[in-house]
């Protein structure tokens, strides 16, 4: 899932300066799960903005709403009237949702309330971590199901590097060296020989370095 994090309040404040009728629009899927953009956070952020404006002696009118997914045009239509009535939409969706809104409502200013941080999972209540970089060419079959591209600080394909100390990455003792984990896991699976093969240079063209990616399935298109 996509994990997001709400932008610093000061940044949001600056962004919305001068707008007096706001639609704070949440997204109830990925970023709700990471407690950044669901209805719960919409209410909290709206309340903070109102208080802030009140202290500054400025008027503000905020409509609070959330929709199931901001990344599908069909869902965006349900807020058509709300969008029309506001000066600006503060979207608490990931970057995809914000852009979908901007595309659907070309005349409206759509502002991002979140930073779209990574693709990852909930480790435990309140803790999320990155797992996938969306490189377009999955190699998890060869690395024991642990991704060095997303989880090695250098993105090394033939690790570990000399910075791996006691199973930790040199950037911080809190960060596991994923190559250590890969070796441990392959050892446990009795597949250590997989590492004897050197990874050739990876094709990064499919990872976005070759331009915006697009998938077309002829059998499904209209």
């Amino acid at each position: 899932m996509i994990v997001g994090q709400q932008k610093d309040f000061d940044e949001i404040k600056k962004m919305i300066t001068g707008y007096n009728r706001l639609l704070v629009l949440g997204c109830q899927t990925c970023v709700a799960i990471s407690f950044a953009g669901g209805m719960r956070e919409v209410e909290i952020l709206a309340s903070m903005i109102r208080m802030d404006r009140k202290m500054a002696g400025q008027d503000v009118e905020i409509v609070e709403e959330a929709i199931l997914r901001q990344c599908d045009f069909e869902f965006l239509d349900s807020v058509k009237d709300l969008v029309a009535d506001c000066d600006v939409v503060l979207s608490l969706a990931c970057g995809v949702g914000v852009q979908a809104m901007a595309e659907r409502y070309p005349d409206k200013v759509i502002l991002p309330g979140l930073n779209t941080t990574f693709m990852g999972l909930t480790e435990e209540m309140g803790v999320w971590s990155e797992r996938c970089a969306g490189c377009g060419d999955c190699i998890l079959d060869r690395t024991g199901g642990l991704c060095p591209i997303a989880r090695c600080s250098k993105g090394l394909l033939n690790g570990p590097c000399g910075g791996s100390v006691n199973g930790k990455c040199e950037i911080s003792p809190d960060v596991d060296c994923v190559w250590q984990l890969i070796i441990d896991r392959l050892k446990a699976l009795n597949q250590l020989e997989k590492l004897e093969e050197i990874f050739p240079v990876k094709d990064w063209s499919v990872s976005g370095h070759g331009g915006t990616r697009k998938i077309i399935r002829e059998d499904l298109t209209a």
Partner: protein
């Protein structure tokens, strides 16, 4: 008035009576609660706080009082007295006289206008006469039943004729002076006596007339927030704050006329001293006592805290007199310390820890029924049937059986409810209609873990009421540690009782005994549990469906290496001596001297609790040795002689028979040596002489501590909490001794804390009746206060499932969360955490918290606007 088949009469509306009523009513019986006074609740409402938790007892029990008043299976008859009980078990005819209160409770709105205008002021019994009330009164603001009553004795309408003020001011026209006493006849199957206690004021205690000598209960009222002093600690004579207070223990206990220990006074004096210190930090508090008898769960810790942290002074001395100090309201205490040195001290205030005796009305009633009472008028009971009186169908619980504290009274009340419902089941009584509920039926079976006496008693209670019981025992035989015991403190034969019990359990068609078995995992909720049990002899596991679980895995004894135990064969544990006394008394008969050492491993820094049964077991065995050989010199080395309650008899007897008692302190433990031939030598400081003495005994018996069993894995499996000593932690130390905070799981016996067999059995019965309250329901009780999830908004983020303390939310086959209503407790924590705001509490729709937040500011704060 109507009567019902299947009804039970409970006499006494104190804490025990209320508990018995609720347990029976929840099991489906109809109960009449007869209370002499105008309000239920008894003495606990008068208490400021309870030990060892320092909670306000009334605040915590208020819900139970309300429940008792509103339960459809309970009829409360206040201002009522039992005149006569005829008939026999299964069919008693009870005559009750109900006095009028002259106020219609249905109409009374408790506005208080009547009492405000009432011209007649009298002493307030609720405040022990320290305050005043009117002749029309409510005992205290939240008294149940919640309505005013007129006290005929003092009402001017009756005493001087003609006063009608209250009648005139009452807007609701609730007052009717023409009401008369009425006689009520009831037919009931069983009777429970829960009549409580009266305080003993012994004749020698003339100094009680000095204004600043007060009783323990008066002290409670003085400290109480709703008491006559508004919670300010002041002394009665001049309403000044006292600077030093003395507590005198054993007033009316442990004397010639009342040769028993009142059990509760040590703890309440310690509590009062601790709380008094909270009122006034620089207050000096001294407790004059003989033995500090603090044997319940966590009591020793409380006592240690008083000594070490709160700086309460403990003086080991029995004070015989209190003198007034001329020209002041102060009091002089003259006392002799252990060595006989006389000292004098002056106190601002003296609190008497008065003993407990059975209430006089109850004694009269019991005599009329032909119930055997002991020499002190307590009900004679057997250790193996602790709530059964000598009359079939009549049960007794609480302080009428022996002096006891709140938690034990509550336990016994539940035990009496259990025993009387067994009696009702045996006589084929029909249950009252169950309350209207809907849903799933509970599985009519109980799982009992641990096959000792506790487990077996619980199983029989369930099975005799028609429920299947699965008894899981990890060893290859039933009986547990009781198999090692010989006799109870009353001298009853334990082994034959245990044999009979095993026989009954093994032959009961509703009891499945699983020996060599262990619980592997368990899941579910009250009414519907599923547990997998592994049997060590086979590789297969057994899956058991049950509605309730009772934990009765017992405890263990300490394997000590102190005092040459395990090195010298003549140093015995208490159960080795038990065995020798029954199997080979001749080998020990000719011993010249014998030493008993108490508190081996108990009451030490690493085990700061009392094992409770050691004093009585040592004394009983010592007396038995003395019987075998009257010339044998017997020495009991002890720290405090804790022969609480009726066990005091043993102590008196032992001293009469010439057994020598030598007290030692933790820092002056006895030293045990042996010479080359293995002859034992004990060296100990005699506190009376102030010198070391040497004893050369043939044998030494060690009263080793009871230690918790290895419960950690079991606790984890059943998600149950352990306390700091490793025993299971019950839901509330005082008021819920056999329950866990999780519903449908109960505990009994030594898993809870060390205790003798009679208390173990009453806990086993209490746990069983709690279990029956779940099993007897037509449908599994769910509250309407449960979370409900709007699946349209839910994105299955799992937050609720992760955060729920009760595992009440699970993800179903559709990938969506599902709230198990029987597990949900309605706390609302998931509601505020849900990121999509998909959860509501059924009774809490539209976020009433938010609504109250909004409404809180609707009313303008006019008082601040100038």
């Amino acid at each position: 008035m109507f009567s019902k088949v299947g009804s039970i009469l409970v006499v006494g509306g104190g804490i025990a009576g209320i508990q018995a009523c609720l347990d029976l009513a929840d099991s489906g019986y109809f109960v009449y609660l007869v209370e002499k006074s105008a309000f239920i609740g008894g003495k606990i409402a008068q208490l400021d706080k309870t030990y060892p938790v320092n909670d306000c007892p009334f605040c915590i029990r208020y819900n139970e009082h309300m429940e008792c008043a509103s339960h459809t299976n309970i009829e409360i008859l206040t201002l009522s007295e039992v005149r006569d009980i005829k008939g026999s078990s299964g069919n008693f005819e009870v005559t009750i006289a109900q006095h009028p209160g002259y106020v219609d409770i249905e109409k009374c709105t408790v506005c208080g206008l009547c009492a405000e205008r009432c011209p007649e002021e009298v002493n307030d019994e609720f405040n022990e006469g320290l305050g005043k009330r009117k002749a029309i009164y409510l005992e205290y603001p939240k008294a149940v039943p919640n309505g005013y009553v007129i006290d005929r004795k003092n009402c001017l309408h009756f005493t001087k004729e003609g006063c009608n003020i209250c009648l005139e001011v009452c807007n609701e026209k609730a007052i009717d002076f023409d009401k008369n006493e009425k006689d009520i006849t009831l037919n009931v199957g069983s009777v429970i006596l829960a009549t409580g206690f009266d305080s003993v004021v012994p004749s020698y205690c003339e100094y009680i007339k000095f204004p600043n000598v007060i009783t323990g209960m008066e002290f409670e009222r003085i400290m109480s927030l709703n008491g006559p002093c508004g919670g300010h600690l002041i002394r009665p004579s001049d309403r000044k704050e006292p600077k030093n207070i003395a507590w005198l223990q054993c007033i009316g206990s442990r004397d010639i006329k009342h040769n028993y220990c009142s059990t509760v006074c040590c703890m309440y004096a310690v509590k009062q001293a601790i709380l008094a210190k909270k009122h006034n930090k620089i207050l000096n508090t001294s407790i004059f006592f003989m033995d500090m008898r603090v044997c319940g769960k966590d009591y020793e810790r409380y006592y240690n805290r008083a000594k070490d942290e709160d700086d309460v002074r403990f003086v080991r001395s029995r004070v015989h007199n209190v003198f007034p100090v001329d020209g002041t309201d102060d009091l002089l205490i003259r006392y002799a310390d252990e060595r006989g040195k006389i000292s004098e001290e002056i106190y601002d205030m003296v609190v008497l820890s008065l003993g407990l005796e059975p209430s006089q009305d109850a004694v009269k009633l019991a005599r009329g029924l032909g119930i055997s009472l002991d020499k002190n008028n307590f009900v004679e009971t057997s250790s193996f049937a602790p709530v059964n009186t000598s009359v079939p169908g009549v049960y007794a619980c609480g302080a009428f059986n022996a002096p006891k504290d709140i938690s034990e009274s509550i336990t016994e009340a539940s035990a009496a409810a259990c025993a009387s419902s067994l009696n009702m089941a045996a006589s084929g009584a029909a249950l009252h209609d169950p309350l209207e509920e809907t849903g799933q039926k509970p599985v009519p079976a109980g799982l009992v873990v641990g096959g000792g006496v506790t487990g077996m008693v619980s199983c029989l209670c369930l099975a005799d009421q028609g429920y299947r019981a699965y008894l899981i025992e990890k060893t290859d035989k039933l009986g547990g540690h009781a198999l090692k015991l010989r006799k109870t403190f009353k001298g009853e034969d334990v082994s034959s009782y245990v044999k009979e019990l095993i026989n009954k359990v093994e032959n009961h068609h509703l009891i499945d005994v699983c020996l060599n078995s262990e619980v592997k995992n368990t899941d579910g909720y009250a009414g519907n549990f599923s547990t997998r049990v592994a049997i060590s002899s086979s590789t297969e596991t057994k899956n058991i469906k049950h509605g309730v679980t009772i934990m009765s895995t017992g405890a263990d004894f300490l394997r000590t290496s102190e005092y040459l135990y395990g090195k010298n064969p003549n140093v015995l544990s208490w159960f080795q001596l038990d065995k020798m006394l029954s199997e080979e008394p001749n080998t020990i008969k000719n011993a010249n001297a014998w030493v008993f050492i108490l508190c081996v491993g108990s009451r030490e820094p690493e085990r700061p609790y009392c094992s409770k049964i050691c004093c009585s077991s040592a004394l009983r065995n010592a007396l038995e040795l003395k019987k075998l050989n009257p010339d044998m010199e017997i020495y009991v080395l002890y720290r405090d002689m804790r022969t609480y309650g009726l066990i005091e008899d043993l102590y008196t007897d032992a001293r009469d028979k010439g057994i020598v008692f030598i007290r030692y302190k933790l820092d002056g433990k006895p030293e045990v040596d042996e010479d080359q031939d293995g002859r034992l030598k004990v060296r100990i400081l005699d506190n009376l002489l102030g010198e070391h003495i040497i004893i050369q005994p043939d044998f030494i018996t060690l009263q080793t501590a009871i230690v918790p069993g290895n419960h950690e894995s079991l606790a984890k499996l059943f998600k149950l909490p352990l306390d700091q000593d490793g025993f299971f932690r019950e839901a509330h130390k005082k008021f819920k001794p056999v329950e866990f905070s999780a519903k449908g799981i109960y505990l009994a016996g030594l898993v809870h804390c060390p205790k003798p067999i009679d208390e173990t059995i009453s806990q086993a019965q209490a746990a069983a009746v709690k279990a029956v309250t779940v099993l007897s329901k037509e449908y599994i009780a769910t509250s309407n206060e449960v979370a409900s999830i709007d699946l349209k908004l839910c994105v299955a983020c799992l937050t609720c499932a992760r955060i729920c303390s009760y595992d009440a939310i699970v993800i179903n086959g559709m990938g969506k969360p599902y709230v198990e209503p029987a597990k949900c407790r309605g706390c609302g924590i998931c509601v505020v955490e849900c990121p999509t705001k998909a959860i509501i509490l059924e009774h809490f729709k539209n976020d009433p918290i938010l609504r109250s937040v909004d409404e809180a500011f609707l009313e303008p704060f006019t008082e601040y606007v100038q």
